[in-house]
Structures are given as C-alpha cells and as structure tokens.
C-alpha cells in the first residue's frame, strides 16, 4: 500500500515540484532560525550563531538535492525537464521545426503506409484456421519430360488420385480440390441475378477447418457420383439475396448453369444446405456460392491439402510425389512440390513489395539525412548555449540526453504527422488497388487482400518504432559532436560563424550529405522513371480498337433459351439499342477485348480434318463470333476488303474476316482476300472477305495473336460452341454512353420481364481496369521518387545555403580583392555540382543493381533502359543546379565591407 502511495507521490513531484520546493525552503529557513536561537542562547554573538547554525545543518544545496532525489524520480524528473526544454527550443524556431517535421513525416508516413501493405499481405495469416498448414500442389515437367513435348505446370489431381491420397498419405491430415469458377443465373426470385461461384470437392470446408454459420458444410455424402444438387452460399450473398433468412436451409434455388458443357441450357433446382460465416472467403470475396464438383474418377481439380501437425512441407511433397508417380505412368520425371497457400497469394506481388519497401526506406534515409543536416546547422548556432551549460557542470551524458530528447521529440511529432500521411497513403493505395470484382476480366489484382490494407495497432506500433529509430538516427551525430565542445574555445566571444565552422560545417561532412542524398534519390528516380515510362508505353500502345464512347454490358435471362432463341433476343436488344438517340452503332459478341475468355478453332486450307485431330494448341487461332456492326462499335480498322454487311445472312455465302497476324501467318506473300478456308469441325468453306487491324485481345501488354471473326448469322447453330456458354457481351457506341444504361435496362425488361443487366462498364473503364496494376506501381514509386527528389533538393539547398553563410567572410575578401559575381557563383556551384555528380554516378550504379527487381513489372523496357537513366540524371542535375543557384546568388550580394567588419 505505502509503496504505491510513495510511487504515486514521487511521480506527482516529477511534474509538480514548485510547491514542495517552496515548502522545503521555508522549513530550512525555520530550522536555521531555531538553531540560531539555540546558539544565541548558548552565548554566541548573532554572527557566530548564524555561522554555527549553518554548520550544524550542513550543506543546504546538497541536502536539497538529496531531498529532491527522495521526493521524486530523478531520471524521470530530468527527462521531464529535458522535454520541457525541448518543447521550448522547438517553439523558438518554428520554421526549422515545421520543415523538419514535414520532412520526417513524409518519410515515416511512406514507410508506415507500405508497412501496412506488407503487414496485410505477408505478416497476417490467411483467415483460415492454422492457415500456414494449407498447401497447394505444383507439378512441373520440362518439355523433355513431358509426353506432349510442351513444358507443363499443373496442380490438378483427379478424384481417383484424391481418394488414393486420402487413404495413403500420412503427411496430409486433409485433402480436397477446387475445380474452378462457375457462373450461375439465379431465377424465380424477381429480376434474375448472375452469381459467381466455385466448384469444389466437398472436403474443402473440412480442409479449411471452417464450419457453416447456418445449416451445414458439405459432407462425404456429396462426394459421390450423381449426388443431389446442393449449394452453400456466402454470408454476403445470403444477406443480399435472401435477406439473411435463417430458414434458407432446405429451400430450393433455381439456377441456370451458364457453363453447362452440353448444349442443353437447363435450369436446375439446388437445395441450400448451408451458409458460411461472415468474413469467410474462399478463395476470395468474389465467390458467392460453392457447389460440389462433378464426381467421376477422371474429374478433379487443384489440390488443396492440410499438413499434419509437425510435418514439414518437404516431407509431405516427397510423400505426395511417390503417391502421384505411382498413379501417373507418364509423369515419372515430374517434379512434385507443395507451396503454402499464403505464398501462392503473395508470390506475384513479392517483387513489387520488395521494390516499394526499398523505395520507402530510401525516402526515410533521405529525410533523416536532411534533418540531421538541419540539426547540425542549428547546433552550431547553439554552441555557446551548450558551452555555458557544460561550464556550469552539465555532464557529457546529460548533454547527449538533452539533445537526443530534442530529436526524439521531433521524430515523435513527425510520427504523429506521418500516421496521417500513412492513412492518406493507405486510402490512395486501396483506391488504386481496387478493381472490378469480375472473374471474366482475368485482371491480376494490384495487391491481393486489398481490403485488409489499413492502419491498425500493429501498424501504429511500427510508426512509433520507426519514429524512435529515426529520432536516434538523425539526432545522434549532432548530439555526439556538440556535447564535446572545447569549453574555453566556446566561451570566448568568437563570431557565431567561426564557432560553427568547427563542428557543423566541416566540408567533407557536408559533401557526404549531398552525395548520399543524391545517390539515394537518383536510385528512386531511375526506378520510378522506369515504371512510369513503362506505364506510358503500355497505356499508349496501339490496342487496335477505340475504347472511347463504348458501353458494354451483359444480360441475365431467367429462362436461358437454346441458342437460336437467345440469338433472336440479342438481335432484338441490338436492334432497339440502335434506335436510341445518340447511338451510332451497337453489337454483341461472345467476347470483347480484355474479356479473358479465349475460344480457338481449327483453321485450315483443306476441308479434311487431320487424322487424328491435332490437340487444341496455341496454333489454333482465336475464334471470335460477333454481330454485324462489331468492328464499327469497337472502332477496329478494316485494313483490306470489308467487314460484315447486311447481306451476310444465314443463307448467303459464308464469309470470314481475319486479322493481320493470321493473314501474315496463313498467306505469306499472298492476298488473303477471296481465299477459301475451313474453320472448326465444319467442312464447308468460308471465304475471306476482309482483313482487320490487330487487336490486343487479352491485355495491352500482350502481343496480338492470330484471330478470325465470323458473323453469328452464318455460324452453324449445331456447333457445340455456339452460345452454350456465357451470354453475349453487348457493346454500344454513342455520345455520353453512360446515360444509356437505364434505357438499355428498359429495353431488356421490355423484351423479357425478369431479365437484368450486369457487368455494366464502359470500354474505357475496362481498359483502365486492366492497367490498374502497372498504374499502381508506377504511381507509388513515382510518388516516392518525387518526394525523394524534392527532399534531396531541399537538402542540397540547405547544405549550400549554410556553407555560404559560413564562408561569408571568405567571399567578402574575394570580392574585395576583385572577384566578379560570376566567379563567386562558379565557386559555390562548382563545389555543389561536383558533389552532386559524384552522387549521381553512385546512384546510377546503385540503380543498375537494384532495378533488376523491377524486371517483371516493366513493359517494353529493360531494367537498364538508357533513356530513363539519362533522363533521371539530367532531371536531378537540373534540380541540384536550382537548389544551389539560389544560395550562390545570395553569396554574390555579400557586401565586402559588412562581411569584413562583422569579424
């Protein structure tokens, strides 16, 4: 009890010592008076009595000091006083304080923001039980090992292999597989809705260690051929489409399978068995439902396994390799590996994270160098103050502590400001990283798990830790240098400039600061420059189509009719769209550019199919089924011949349009127009009537591939690829296309009461979406490079400006002796640029080493792209020139008389 009481009181006296000091002084005075009285009574004279009293009491100051030690906590007391002093010092120099805090806040903020990403992606486990035990399979075969002579990489296992693994593996406690995405149209509940889901082996939920929130997860009963159709919904889908109805279990949901392999488009009733808990996502938030994969011995999917406790991933991979090789006679040489699920998520973004982490570390280093330089410059102004304090008995340790307290305070304040910067940064990153939640676009997320990026307690702890380290880093050098001044020297009434020159102004130190800052900033500038250059190249690449003023959407139909009916419906929609005011052209197609659905078909010059038919390989060109105005809507240029016309109807001669790449490949040196070719399994000829410009179909960074186009009207309806999968994409060209959305909806409703629009986007948005990843990397690194360059510029300015004030006298003498202004400018600039050039050369060297991490992020550039390196050097040199010219000019205004007199 009394220990606590004492501690509290001592703590209290750290902060409030005034009253206790006064009380003590009064008590001591009273004590002395009483002693004097006593000595006087013993017969001493008043003077003698006073002396005797003082002797009896002992050294008053020492006693008071010990009283303070007892009364409060000494070290804390000192720290508190240092802090108060530091606050006063910072307030006295608001300009310095603002610049220093702003500089460090940028550095700390950038680091904290990137740490929040690293934290969300690398450090946090996936939201599954013991997620580090979850593994995926990777089987790789080189071309030589592979039976198809093509290098292969697959994680697929069959149902038969799964059951073998389950019964024989001692290293995997659970095994299942994911069979791939599935699209369903939910009907019979108002406007029909398209849902994205996942076909899985029912054991997936057990493997993930997750139970249903309502109802049950799939069980072994569903792992059988011909099991009744069942479905499990995500929490979000349950809330959105069923209003969170707890009685959903057992209900029947009518779903039309849009990926049905047979041409029959049937609606089936699925019995709901459960709803997964809130926050459960597998494999990501886009998946709204799960259904069992088909269960025949050869069907299967990508293995998902859980390691047995304490089993290493290598041991499991070795065992699995044995099991699989036992079953796959043609894969005896294959390399069987397991990778953690978390690694599969972060692997694609690792290089980018490495680059960004290095970048922000550089920004912080530059900020530290700047602030250390500011502190050094200020330190020289405080030489006398420090000298006096040392002369009055402050120890060296005490002075270092005092100075470090100041820089720590500075850094912590910057940490607060930096957290605000980081908050803004994470918002920006989430905006940049957010893409359309559409599987059909196949766009790689800039960052996976983007919704988890944010500022939480761990991230804030990081900001605090960074601040403390920063404070020590930039405070240490000035503190050590300053605390060791020559007392006598400093107390002499020397001019401030000369006293300062001893500590803060040694030329090699200043040069080193400039060289360091320049080198770091140059590396960032080159890196950011490469990414921006690459992004610009990508964004301005010849795509082959004109995405402006094009609206795209899909239609969900309740009763998906067989192909011909759907085609009539699509024709009706396009026909009515064309009548809308402002619409120039309208079309529908099986895919649009940037839709990641590839269909290929055989393309040959003779009617006979080779026997046996060749495997579907990349040699088969991309086959596109489009409606009449497709080329007009998308602005695809017809290079030769014509596009599809009104007369190319079902009964008329069948015509094809090929792209330039296919024309070059199939008809080298010939005119393709008028040639007859055969496509698909069909043995009737097609005549080539047109050649269109190449289109970058699957992404701006992917080279055009051979393609041919056919008109829906002429494609044989019996062909199994016709209209059996995803509904078509509609595209409309016109002015102000976004205003067409409600009218398009009306048209669709008018044709079928419960039809709805989905995947509505302008073509521009799709293009922009496809660039989100490179855009994000270029933006982030560009911002960091920009900050680094500005900070380095400010740093150079600071160093040179300080050097000029230091050399005022020297410059004055030179000018008195007849030096011209330009000679003075040359003197200052020459020194500054010499350092800058050394820094640039070092920075270029460093960049050449570091930019190889950018390799996978660059389009159309090598990491050693010479123009970027040159441009970065020139840019930085110009900035350094400006930063040192300003103080150089000021130097020329030195009045020799004033400069000499000031001595």
């Amino acid at each position: 009890m009394w220990r606590l009481r004492r501690l509290v009181l001592r703590l209290f006296h750290v902060v409030r010592s005034g009253a206790a000091e006064a009380d003590l002084a009064r008590e001591v005075a009273s004590h002395l008076a009483l002693l004097e009285e006593e000595f006087a009574r013993r017969g001493l004279t008043p003077d003698e009595a006073r002396l005797a009293a003082k002797r009896a009491l002992g050294g008053v100051e020492q006693m008071k000091e010990r009283h303070r030690d007892e009364r409060s906590l000494r070290w804390l007391d000192d720290a508190w006083r240092d802090l108060q002093y530091a606050v006063r010092m910072l307030r006295r120099a608001p300009g310095f304080t603002a610049v220093a805090i702003l500089t460090l806040a940028l550095g700390i903020g950038a680091n904290t923001a990137i740490f929040s990403v690293v934290h969300a992606l690398l450090l946090k486990p996936l939201p599954y039980k013991d997620s580090d035990q979850l593994v995926r399979l990777v089987v790789t075969m080189s071309a030589a090992q592979s039976p198809t002579a093509q290098p292969q990489r697959s994680g697929r296992i069959s149902v038969a292999e799964l059951s073998e693994i389950r019964s024989h593996s001692r290293t995997l406690s659970h095994a299942a597989f994911t069979a791939g995405p599935v699209f369903m149209t939910m009907t019979g509940r108002g406007e029909s809705t398209r849902l994205q889901g996942m076909r899985i082996a029912p054991g997936v939920f057990d493997t993930l260690g997750e139970r249903a929130f309502v109802g049950r997860a799939f069980g072994s009963a569903e792992e059988a051929p011909g099991a009744a159709p069942v479905i499990i919904f995500s929490y979000a889908a349950w809330q959105r489409y069923f209003g969170g109805d707890p009685a959903i279990v057992g209900q029947n949901v009518a779903l039309a399978n849009s990926l049905s392999p047979n041409s029959q488009l049937d609606i089936e009733g699925y019995s709901v068995v459960g709803v997964m808990p809130k926050g459960f996502e597998f494999p990501d938030a886009q998946v709204q439902f799960w259904m069992p994969a088909s269960w025949t011995p050869s069907s299967g999917g990508a293995l998902l396994g859980r390691l047995e406790d304490g089993v290493s991933i290598h041991a499991a991979a070795a065992e699995l390799g044995g099991i699989l090789r036992g079953m796959r006679k043609d894969q005896q040489q294959a390399a069987v590996e397991l990778v953690r699920v978390l690694d599969t998520v972060i692997e694609p973004v690792k290089p980018a994270l490495v680059v960004l982490t290095i970048a922000v570390a550089f920004v912080l280093l530059i900020a530290c160098v700047n602030v250390a330089n500011l502190l050094l410059a200020r330190a020289s102004a405080r030489q006398r103050e420090i000298g006096i304090r040392v002369a009055l008995g402050a120890g060296r340790g005490r002075m270092i502590r005092q100075l470090l307290t100041e820089s720590l305070l500075l850094a912590l304040l910057s940490g607060v400001a930096g957290s605000a910067v980081a908050l803004a940064g994470t918002r920006l990153m989430r905006t940049l990283a957010t893409t359309f939640a559409r599987i059909d676009l196949g766009v790689q997320l800039p960052f996976p798990r983007v919704e988890e990026i944010g500022i939480d307690a761990t991230v804030l702890m990081f900001a605090v830790a960074t601040s403390v380290i920063t404070g020590l880093l930039c405070g240490l050098a000035p503190a050590l240098g300053l605390s060791r001044p020559d007392r006598a020297e400093l107390l002499k009434d020397r001019t401030h400039a000369q006293a300062g020159a001893r500590i803060g102004g040694r030329t090699p130190v200043r040069g080193l600061l400039i060289v360091t800052e320049t080198a770091l900033a140059m590396m960032l500038l080159v890196g950011g420059g490469l990414l921006i250059h690459s992004f610009v190249k990508l964004a301005t690449v010849e795509s082959g189509y004109n995405p402006e003023n094009v609206l795209t959407f899909q239609v969900s139909l309740a009763d998906l009719a067989p192909g011909s009916q759907l085609k009539t419906f699509a024709d009706d929609v396009v026909g009515r769209l064309r009548l809308l005011p402002g619409v120039e052209s309208a079309a529908y197609a099986r895919q649009l550019p940037l839709i990641a659905i590839r269909e290929s078909a055989w393309f040959r010059h003779t009617p006979q199919l080779p026997d046996p038919p060749p495997r579907q390989t990349s040699a088969a060109p991309d086959a596109r089924l489009v409606s009449q105005e497709y080329f007009e809507v998308l602005g695809i240029r017809v290079v030769a011949g014509r596009g599809f016309g009104a007369t190319d109807t079902a009964g008329q001669p069948r015509v094809l349009v090929v792209n330039e790449t296919l024309a070059r490949r199939e008809f080298p040196g010939e005119n393709p127009l008028g040639q007859y070719v055969y496509a698909g399994r069909d043995s009737s000829p097609w005549q080539i009537v047109g050649v269109v410009a190449d289109v970058r179909q699957f992404g701006l960074d992917q080279d055009p591939q051979p393609q041919f186009f056919a008109d829906f009207r002429q494609w044989p309806v019996t062909d199994p690829v016709f209209f059996t999968i995803l509904g078509p994409y509609f595209a409309v060209r016109g002015a102000d296309v976004l205003t067409l959305v409600p009218r398009a909806r009306d048209i669709v409703h008018g044709l079928s009461a419960d039809a709805g629009l989905y995947n509505v986007a302008t073509m521009d948005q799709l293009v922009s979406n496809s660039l989100s990843r490179p855009r994000m990397y270029a933006s982030l690194l560009g911002i960091f490079a920009g900050v680094a360059v500005v900070l380095a510029g400010v740093g150079i300015y600071g160093v040179i400006a300080y050097a000029v004030t230091q050399r005022t006298r020297e410059i004055g003498i030179r000018m008195a002796l007849g030096a011209q202004r330009f000679e003075v400018v040359k003197l200052v600039l020459g020194q500054s640029l010499a350092w800058t050039v050394i820094g640039i050369v070092l920075g270029l060297g460093g960049a050449a080493v570091v930019t190889r991490y950018l390799e996978g992020l660059l389009y159309g550039l090598t990491p050693l792209d010479a123009p970027t390196f040159v441009a970065a050097s020139v840019t930085f040199l110009l900035i350094a020139l400006v930063a040192s010219y300003v103080p150089a000019r000021r130097a020329t205004r030195v009045d020799p008389v004033v400069a000499l007199r000031s001595e």
């Binding site: 009064r26 009483l34 009896a56 050294g59 007892e70």
Partner: protein
C-alpha cells in the same frame, strides 16, 4: 546513491527512519530541529550528524504515509513544520522494531560467535 563517508549514522538504510519514527512516537509531534536535537542527545558524539540529513528521511516517511507534517507555531512564536506519527506509522514502527530486533539479534550472535 550516497557518497557520504561510511561512519555516518544513517549508513544502514532504514535505520534513521526507525529512529525518527521511534522519537516521534515517544515525544509526540516534533519539528526537524527538535528531532535533530533529540538524536544528538541520544548519540554519543553530538553533531556528527548534519541536521540536514534528516530531511530526505522525513520526505520519505511522509510519502509513505507514516508521518504527517503541519505548519505550527513554536513556543517562541516561530513557524515550524511539526511532524506527527500517523496510525499507519505506529503500525509500521511496531513491525520495523520487531524486524530490527531480530536482525540485531542475529548480527549480534554472528559477531559474538566469530570473536569467541
């Protein structure tokens, strides 16, 4: 913490505290000078103790809540801070005295045992 020569009275941490508590318990409220005078009477060598050394002990005891200081007038009508032992102080004194006796007895035994 202390750099005092080691033959001073308060070399044993807590000893001085015990003596002050004891003095206050037997004499009633006292000011620092009064306490010092009392200690000098008891000690063999008057004035070996700087009277100022009392103050750290007083603030320590005060913060522990064992004594309480109030400003009062002396007989000669001077202001002086009078310290009185509190209830908690009385209890602590009993405990500390007991501990001290035990310790002293033990030390005595050991010392006697060594010399014999």
């Amino acid at each position: 913490m202390s750099s005092e020569p080691s033959d001073r009275i308060e070399l044993l941490q807590g000893t001085l505290d015990l003596i002050v508590l004891r003095a206050l318990a037997t004499m009633g409220p006292q000011h620092a000078y009064g306490l010092a005078a009392r200690l000098e009477q008891v000690g063999d060598h008057p004035l070996t103790l700087n009277q100022g050394t009392l103050y750290p002990a007083l603030v320590r005891l005060d913060q522990k809540g064992w004594i309480k200081g109030t400003w009062q007038k002396t007989d000669s009508n001077r202001d002086a801070k009078y310290y009185a032992i509190t209830k908690a102080g009385t209890r602590a004194l009993e405990k500390q005295t007991e501990r001290w006796r035990k310790l002293a007895g033990l030390v005595n035994k050991l010392l006697l045992g060594e010399t014999s």
